[in-house]
Symmetry: C2
Subunit: 321 residues, 2 copies
């Protein structure tokens, strides 16, 4: 069994186009029913009636088209900052699905998850951005916001980037960090302003109330919502999904449970089968009719198939170099 | 995070009495409801209608009385021997339940599980063997049979050991391996002969049909059944449980599902609440009335609490030495 530290993994995560291709195949395999995703394990710690101190989630995935399966542990302990520790910890194990042998432990500090999430955003953006350079709107100012900007910029032709965050300081800081992209990067004073400037938008916040409201959205908008990865989170006014011509979900039932889709269905604005498969859209992008007259939403909640795809790619790369 | 290989772990597993004490506290914590055991994950590989090529089980446990939680992966790939590989692989992760940080990876090749299972047998034997030296009957001739003999001999006063296995050669080989114990070790020609010679008996086989039959059992027998760890396995004639004065189970519902208890309940020989908690018996052994007139069965199916107890003990020992 090989043990890989974050500093060994980091250079491989720079191979954006190859990772995007691997993650794309993961989404397609998932959509074709080739991925096994057992029910995740959830452990809670320090639970009282009003709060929990920590949690651990264990997600597993195997694929008929890969010789590996992966087990991902992710912990969040919310009192850690007071101890000078990060809230999140975790690791990824890659095992042989032919012999059961443990092959690799990635002590990745969550970087594999960050990268596979960024790859998903780039793939979602590619569904509309292949025709001409576009302006990208980024809502959120954290680590994933930065990654989305970088990965989408690497995969799609952009003219410029517009950032909005609740904190003006953090938005300016992200703008400064993105200076090396060689693109014009600006901040927007409001979500409304951002939506007026960019038709391609990615949202990357842990918001628990909608940030983009329906009046902000007009024909041609393609919105990639990354933030809603657990119940209670929401980034889009459900009425946007009510108006959308196309809704793509990475996993129908997961998005119904805790994605943007679920909020719109619960609000009675759409039927629960209004969505289409993101993986199948990646397989046959020509089947989508997205243009300057359509409104489209990509609802991404995160798949084990992505974890397996990136861990497999990184492992294959590291053992052959 | 520390990585411990089997050769680093092995010396700690020689601390039998300390491990037995740690595992005892694990059983007691489990019985008191202090252990969280989320539903295990099961992944199957190469499934066709008649067979599977491999499986992976992931078990987790946390305890209110330990600062750790553990995640155990165990795989079985049944075509491995043809590749010169062992069927079973696995590893154990120990994590902080205070900060979520990964603390240790044990690449133990299943040795932690073997030792915690041996410790359970020693504890079960101790419920009757504290009064006077006894003869121990061992049914089975594999690795766990040897461990049971060694661990019970280390914890209880024995006069001699009698072995029975389906293979006479393997029984003789186990007899030879146990020569260093300084006890008289013999093989029995039949289970009936073994039961006549030993009142304290441990069964350690993967049998799918009963090995000890009801007529073999008489007052004073204390039978520890270790083998039934999954549906379909059975070592004891269910009628033995029908006649038993005391039935102890490590986990009531687990034993009902795939332990000896379940077979006897399904056969209509006992009510499903005939058993008592093994952990509570360890906490208050004087509450048990086991003597030369009683028949008792200990049904052990394996607990996450044992994995957590031994992993915690080994970790604490390794980081302080």
């Amino acid at each position: 069994m090989r043990i890989f530290q974050r500093n060994e993994i980091a250079p491989v995560l720079e191979c954006k186009s190859k990772i995007i291709e691997a993650v794309k195949q993961g989404f397609i395999s998932h959509a074709k029913g080739e991925i096994e995703n057992p029910e995740p394990v959830q452990m809670l710690f320090g639970v009282d009636e009003n709060s929990i101190e920590g949690d651990c989630h264990i997600k597993t995935a195997s694929s008929k088209s890969l010789p590996y399966f992966c087990v991902k542990l992710a912990t969040g302990f919310y009192k850690n900052p007071a101890l000078g520790l990060s809230v999140n910890n975790g690791l990824v194990l890659l095992m042989s699905s032919q012999t059961g042998e443990p092959l690799a432990l990635f002590q990745d500090d969550g970087h594999l998850t960050s990268a596979r999430t960024a790859a998903a955003g780039a793939l979602a953006a590619s569904l509309t951005c292949s025709k001409k350079p576009r302006s990208l709107g980024v809502i959120g100012t954290g680590h994933q916001a930065e990654l989305q900007a970088r990965w989408i910029a690497s995969y799609c032709e952009l003219t410029d980037i517009v950032i909005w965050g609740r904190s003006v300081d953090k938005a300016n800081a992200l703008k400064a960090r993105l200076a090396d992209l060689g693109l014009e990067v600006e901040t927007a004073a409001s979500v409304t302003e951002l939506c007026q400037g960019a038709k391609l938008i990615v949202t990357t916040t842990p918001s628990i109330s909608p940030l983009i409201m329906a009046p902000d959205v007009s024909p041609g908008h393609h919105i990639i919502a990354m933030g809603s990865d657990s119940p209670g989170k929401v980034e889009l006014d459900p009425a946007i999904l009510g108006r959308a011509d196309v809704i793509l979900t990475d996993e129908h039932f997961q998005c119904l449970h805790h994605g943007e889709l679920g909020h719109a269905v619960t609000a009675g604005l759409i039927g629960e089968t209004k969505d289409q498969s993101f993986g199948l859209a990646l397989k046959n992008p020509e089947s989508l009719q997205l243009d300057s007259e359509t409104i489209s939403v990509v609802d991404l909640t995160g798949l084990g198939a992505q974890d397996l795809a990136i861990a497999s790619f990184v492992y294959d790369t590291l053992i052959t170099t």
